[in-house]
Amino acid sequence: MSSLSIRDVHKAYGPTEVLKGIDIDIDSGDFLVLVGPSGCGKSTLLNMIAGLDSITSGEIRIEDKVVNDTHPSERDIAMVFQSYALYPNMNVEKNISFGLEMRRMPRKQRRERVAEVAQMLQIEPLLKRKPSQLSGGQRQRVAMGRALVREPKIFLFDEPLSNLDAKLRVDMRTEIKKLHQRLGSTIVYVTHDQIEAMTLATKIAIMKGGVLQQLGTPAELYNQPANMFVAGFMGSPSMNLIPAELVASDGEPAVRMVRKDESSMLLPVGDNPAYRDWIGKPVILGLRPETITDVGSAEQDSPLLFQGECLIDVTEPTGADVFAIIELNGREVVGRMRASCGAKVGEKLSVVFNMRHAVLFDPQTEGRIG
């Protein structure tokens, strides 16, 4: 059953259009993450789902009921805000139960529900405290408690972790994921952090400039990005995008790469029928850093492994790995090596290119080929 359906939704403030026709469908139990750079319209879209922003045109349905003109309180949704939006004058218990009180739930029942939620989030000792007496992580929990207690059809999260420090953010991320798995609730979650998107989502909608770029599972977005923007946005360090010419090598499509010492090498990209029309034309080659490795850490069962000597320009050790920067076709290209591979700046290293995961883009439209 479709839990939330967004049909050709537009949003305009005067002459400026901030959402240009968004279509998204998710099922009950889905965890949809809206991700994109700031100003892409993701928060606006979330507010429109919540009913806090009006819809210029199009349709939003929650469980097959059009909610365009339904007041936020009647949409059966709950929201966790970026600033948590805890009522400063009420203690934690009151904060959590306020929504139930507004819905005229009897006091006794309210208490039971609050207790239940407090136990689930382990905030029972905090119930009598005021928000100002809580730490960032505790506030975050209370804000989630306020949403959970309502048992809504859809939970909306608006960048809920962005005010936490790095470590706490990772902990809370795990917690949210566990909660979702346990309750099986439907969630729409806004973030600008692609790692959050990848780790949490069952479905990701990536947006830019008010346009939906791609909607799919995290794996789909990562492995088959619809365009260069998606390719560059998902993954860290981001995908290498190298201008190259597609040529035929022994009848197979391959890209020509010129190294720093001006020697060139041919890297076959696999026999995708869509590539044939592009032979002899410029393309953009997309290679993730983890597909450019030292010999020892290459994916051994890949049918498309190619080796070549490359000059190392810069190394960035991260502990377990070393990101090594080489130059191909005049571009800086990042590869991911084991720390023990012996890469040294200014020296050559035998580098393996795993072309099984290579993608090609049309330099004009920036869309993926094939």
Binding site: A50, L52, H71, P72, S73, F81, A85, M102
Partner: protein, 292 residues
Amino acid sequence: MASAVDTGVQSGRFWRVLIYVTLIVFAAFYLLPLFVMLVTSFKSLDEIRQGNMLALPLEWTIAPWISAWGSACVGLTCEGIHGYFGNSIKMVVPSVLISTLLGALNGYVLTKWRFPGHRWIFGLMLFGCFIPFQIVLIPMSQVLGLFGLAGTTAGLVLVHVTYGIGFTTLFFRNYYEAFPNELVRAAMIDGAGFFRIFWRILLPSSGPIIVVTIIWQFTNVWNDFLFGASFAAGQSAPMTVALNNLVSSSTGVKEYNVHMAAAMIAALPTLLVYILAGRYFVRGLMAGSVKG
């Protein structure tokens, strides 16, 4: 955060002394009139005529205060100023409460429930409290007459509420501007309506600005003279008007001690508020001049 230029090396001792002396001289300048007022109000008329204005009373007497309160002649009646003091209170309390409540609601609407044109409405209301009130004297006296409110305390309350809401709205608007919108949105999703959000979410967090507004309005209304002199005649006049009548009446002997006692009585309420809640008083002054 002090911005004083904090030289690790102490600036010369001479300069420090000079600074303190200057500051103390000015403190004397500001205190002197109050001091003179106070000592004069405790002297007998004879001592005033013969002695030094700046000297402490040789014989302290509270007779001037008693006379000012209960028997001094204001205009033709000689019952002191206590009735006018009461008038001022009857005028101030409702004016302050009504204008503060309206200001709070207006500020709430103008920040959390904006609609097209809200800036114009606010601008027009704000300008209303800076106009020279001479411009409204003629029509206001007619309108008050029309409503049968001429010369009454109720009429003055209407006037003070009318010309006070610009400032009260300004105060609450600036305060609520900084109040997170997300709280209002959260309450909306929780199912609270317009008034419920106001009473349950905003108002409980508005303590400081309510105090600031009440003090500001109290001071302004209590100290007003122009409206009181224009619209409240005779027995219904507020304190400031009565004081002026008492002091400037040209009949009989000028009882300076009684005048000063009456002036002190007129000054006491606002002075007391200032001493007890000076911080809020200053905040109001600032908010009334430096916005944002």
